[in-house]
Symmetry: C2
Subunit: 465 residues, 2 copies
C-alpha cells in the first residue's frame, strides 16, 4: 500500500470497477472525469439521496429568480446510465471492507471496487440555539434544501439569515429580491470573514444596506421564538426581537466523514478524512491504495498555512477529481496545496478572495499585514466606469499571501491572477513590472492594482528596515 508497489495504469486498456460514494458536485465530478479519462472503467455512484447532478453554487440565483431551481440540474441519472455511469439513488454505503475491497450498501448486496472515491460531502453546522428545530428554519446545503426554501419564500414576509458568509449573503439577496424584509446576523465583527478583511467587508455591507437588507455584525441570535402557529416567529438579538417567519441558518459546515469510523480510516483535526498528497485516505497514517477522498469531506494541504484544512469549494473538488485521474496514471502525481481562490456574486456585487486574509493569517500564527486601494476599473470617460476595491496581504517575509477584490465586475480573473502569484510565490516587484493590457472599455491605463503593488512594496521595504 505504498507508492513503490503501485504502478500507473494505461488509461485506454484499464477497466476497473470504480465506486463513488456521494452524489454531490465532487462525486459526480469525479465520476465524469474518470469516465472521460478511463473509457473502459465501470463506474458506480452511490447516493443516499435522490438529488441528481446539480450545481450547488447555482441554487441561490435560482432562489433569486434568475432561472427555475431545476435549471441547476446538470445531468439526470438516466443521462449517466447512457454514458455508462451507473447511478444508485437512495442507496447508502454503510461499510467499507478495505481488505476485500468491497462496500456494504443499504439496500443492496456488497459490491466490489478497484478504485473507491469518497465524496460524502458535508452537513450544515447548526448552532446550539433554542428554536432551531422550529418549522420555518432552513439550511441551504443540498438540492432538497433549495426546493424547500424556494417553497417557503412564498407567503413569507420577514427573514433572518444567521451567518454573514458567502452563502448566507447570496441567500439574503435572493430573499430580498423576492420581496422579503431581510436581516443578516453575523457573529464576527464583519461580513464574509473567511474571504475578506474588514475594510473590504465594509463595501459589501454598504452594498447590502443599499439593497434594503439590514446587517448586524458582532452579534448573535440568542434564541428563535415561535409564533402562535408553532412556526418560527422571531429571532432574539441582544434583547431585540426581530420578527421572522423564515430563518436561514448559514453558519458553516462540518465534513460528513462518518465512514471513517466504520472503515477505520484516519480523520484529521478538521473532522474530515485525512489524506496524503495524492488525495488518498489514510489508515493509521498509511495511505490506502486507490482509495481517495475529495470534496467537502476531505482534508487538503494549505499552501500558505502549511497545515491541513478544508476547502469546501466546487473548484477544489474539480481539481481533486483531476488529481485522482492523474494519480492513477502517474503514482508520483501530487495534488497541489490549495490557495482556494473564490468568487461570489452578491446582488450584483462581485466579491473575491484567495490565499489568507490578514485576520485569518494572524489566527493561524502568521505575521500578516495588508494594503488596500480603490480606483476606477476603466477609463473615466467610458460609460459605466466604476470603482474596484483591492487588497493585498503580505507575510513577515514580504511575500504576497492573500488578495481580495470587491467590484461590480472583473473580480474572478483578478483572483485567478493572484492564485498564480501566490502559488508560484511571484514577488510583488515582478508583478508590478509586468505589462497589463489596456483598452478604455475594459481597464484603466493606470490600473489601481499597479499603485497597490507599489504601495505593497513600499510597506514591505519599510517593515524590513
Amino acid at each position: 500500500m505504498t507508492d513503490d508497489v503501485v504502478e500507473g495504469v494505461d488509461p485506454n486498456e484499464w477497466s476497473p470497477r470504480i465506486a463513488v460514494v456521494g452524489g454531490g458536485v465532487s462525486g459526480y465530478g469525479a465520476a465524469r472525469r474518470l469516465h472521460t479519462d478511463f473509457p473502459r472503467a465501470r463506474i458506480h455512484i452511490y447516493d443516499r439521496n435522490d438529488w441528481h447532478h446539480y450545481s450547488a453554487c447555482g441554487m441561490t440565483f435560482a432562489l433569486e429568480g434568475l432561472y427555475p431551481m431545476d435549471g441547476v440540474v446538470l445531468h439526470t441519472p438516466e443521462e449517466y446510465d447512457q454514458m455508462g455511469i451507473e447511478v444508485h439513488e437512495k442507496v447508502e454505503v454503510t461499510g467499507i471492507d478495505l481488505e476485500r475491497r468491497t462496500l456494504d450498501t443499504t439496500p443492496g448486496n456488497p459490491v466490489r471496487f478497484d478504485v473507491l472515491v469518497l465524496a460524502t460531502g458535508r452537513n450544515p453546522l447548526i448552532p446550539p440555539i433554542t428554536g432551531v428545530d422550529l418549522p420555518g428554519v432552513h439550511t441551504l446545503s443540498n438540492y432538497g434544501d433549495g426546493e424547500r426554501l424556494m417553497a417557503a419564500m412564498e407567503g413569507s414576509q420577514r427573514a433572518v439569515v444567521i451567518g454573514g458568509g458567502a452563502i448566507g449573503l447570496e441567500t439574503a439577496v435572493a430573499l430580498n429580491a423576492r420581496g422579503l424584509d431581510v436581516t443578516v446576523v453575523e457573529m464576527l465583527p464583519h461580513l464574509m470573514p473567511q474571504m475578506l478583511d474588514g475594510d473590504l467587508a465594509k463595501v459589501v455591507r454598504e452594498h447590502l444596506e443599499g439593497l434594503g437588507i439590514r446587517v448586524l455584525t458582532g452579534m448573535s441570535v440568542g434564541r428563535l421564538d415561535p409564533s402562535p402557529d408553532g412556526r418560527v416567529g422571531s429571532a432574539e438579538v441582544l434583547g431585540e426581537s426581530i420578527p421572522a417567519d423564515l430563518v436561514v441558518i448559514s453558519t458553516g459546515i462540518r465534513p460528513e466523514a462518518s465512514l471513517a469510523e466504520v472503515a477505520g480510516l484516519d480523520k484529521g483535526t478538521t473532522g474530515g478524512f485525512a489524506t496524503d498528497s495524492h488525495m488518498r485516505v489514510l489508515r493509521t497514517g498509511e495511505p490506502v491504495d486507490r482509495v481517495y477522498a475529495i470534496g467537502d469531506c476531505a482534508e487538503v494541504r494549505h499552501a500558505i498555512l502549511g497545515r491541513r484544512t478544508l476547502s469546501p469549494l466546487a473548484s477544489t473538488a474539480f481539481y481533486e477529481a483531476r488529481t485522482i485521474a492523474h494519480h492513477l496514471v502517474d503514482p508520483t502525481y501530487e495534488h497541489r496545496p490549495v490557495v482556494a481562490p473564490a468568487v461570489v456574486v452578491i446582488g450584483g456585487l462581485h466579491v473575491g478572495g484567495v490565499g489568507v486574509t490578514e485576520g485569518g493569517g494572524a489566527h493561524f500564527g502568521l505575521e500578516t499585514w495588508g494594503v488596500t486601494a480603490s480606483g476606477l476599473d476603466r477609463s473615466r470617460y467610458f460609460p459605466g466606469a466604476d470603482l474596484i476595491h483591492l487588497r493585498l496581504v503580505g507575510d513577515a517575509g514580504g511575500h504576497i499571501v492573500g488578495a481580495q477584490a470587491v467590484a461590480s465586475r472583473d473580480v474572478n480573473d483578478r483572483v485567478n491572477l493572484f492564485a498564480l502569484v501566490i502559488s508560484e510565490d511571484i514577488p510583488a516587484e515582478r508583478l508590478v513590472d509586468m505589462e497589463r493590457a489596456f483598452s478604455p472599455p475594459v481597464q484603466l491605463l493606470a490600473d489601481p492594482l499597479v499603485g497597490l503593488l507599489d504601495e505593497f512594496i513600499g510597506v514591505r521595504d519599510a517593515l524590513r528596515d
Copy 2:
C-alpha cells in the same frame, strides 16, 4: 555617460529641469509620472501640435457615438500649468545639443534640460496607392484626425477602411454604427494578423460580417478613384470598383524619430530611437545620460523574440514612463522586455493577444505551434452564458510564448494572466494545476482554459517524442 559615474537622485530633494518632447499619451504620461515622483522638478512639455492630453485609444468609441470626441481629453494645458507642468503648444523642437544639454525650439530660444524625454510618437504609414491624397481620405493617428473623421462621417454613405488591424476594425465598427456601408480591405490572409492567428481571426470576421460590414482579406486596394466633385469616390480592389465617399487608411505606423539625425542619435532597424535597457537613447552605441526615448518612437526589447521591436501601445508607454522614474532613482533599474499584452473591443467583441502569434513567431524564425479551444464562459444554465475562444502558442522548447482570446467579455484579464505566464516562463503544467475561482455568473467550473492547457501539454509532449 556610463552607469558607473551616475548616481541615483533623492526624489524629494532633486529639482531638475525636465524637457518632454511630444504631447501624446507617452509624453503626457511621462510628465505626470515624473511630476508625481519628483515633486520639485520643473517639467516642460513641447508639443508641435495643439492637441491636449487625450486618450488616443478612446477616439474610436467617440466616433462610434458612445461619448463626444472631447470626452477623451484627460487634461488641458491650463490644468497642467496649475500642477506645475508647463505645456508649450505649437512649439517644435528642431535641435538637441547633447553637450550643452539644450533644445532648439521654434518659435523660442534654446532651453536647458537636465533630463530629456523624447516622446515624439509616430506617423501613419501611407501605402503608395494612387489617390491617397484625395479629399475624403483619412488617417486616425492623432486628435486632429479624430475631429476631422468625426466631421467627415456626417453626410458620408459608403466607407472603405484599408487595413484590418485593431484600429482599422474599431473604426470600421464606428462608421457602421453611424450608418455607413463599410468595407474593410486587409492585404494579409486574415484580420488582425499582429494579434491573432487565422482561426481566432475567423471569429472576428464573422462578428463583423454579422454587423453588416464587408470584409475582404488577402486583397489590396489598387487605386483610389475620384468622383466628379474631385473627392474620393471609389476604391479599386481586384478589378472591382467599390464606391466610397470616405476612406480610412489604417495600415500601420512608422516611428517619428527624425530628431535622431539632428542630434546624432542611433536609430534601430525599425526606424525608432535605439535605446538601452533603461530606455536611454544611444549615440554611436553608448547610452546618453538622462536622455530617454519612450512610446511609439522608441525601440524596446521583445521578451520572446529577443530582438529590438516597437510596441506602440499606451500600456507600453505607461511602463516606460515608470521605468524612467525608477531609473533616475536607481541607475540599475531596467525596463522589462515586452510581451505586449493588448486588448481591443470591436463592436462589442473583446479581442486580446500577448506574446507572439504562431505566424508572427515563424516570421522571426521561431519554431511555433498552437492549440485552440472554445467553450462556455460561465455555467450553461446561467443567463447570458456565451462562448469564449482561446488559443495558446508554444515554441520548440514547449514554453508558452503566446496567448489569444476572443469573446464577448473577460478577455483582458486572461491576457494579463498570460502576460505573467509568458514573462515568468511558467510551465503549462504549473498553470493547469492552479485552482481557478468559480461562481456560476462569472466562470465555468471546467473553464475552457483548463482543457486547452491539457491539450497544450499533450501536443508538447508528443512533439518531444
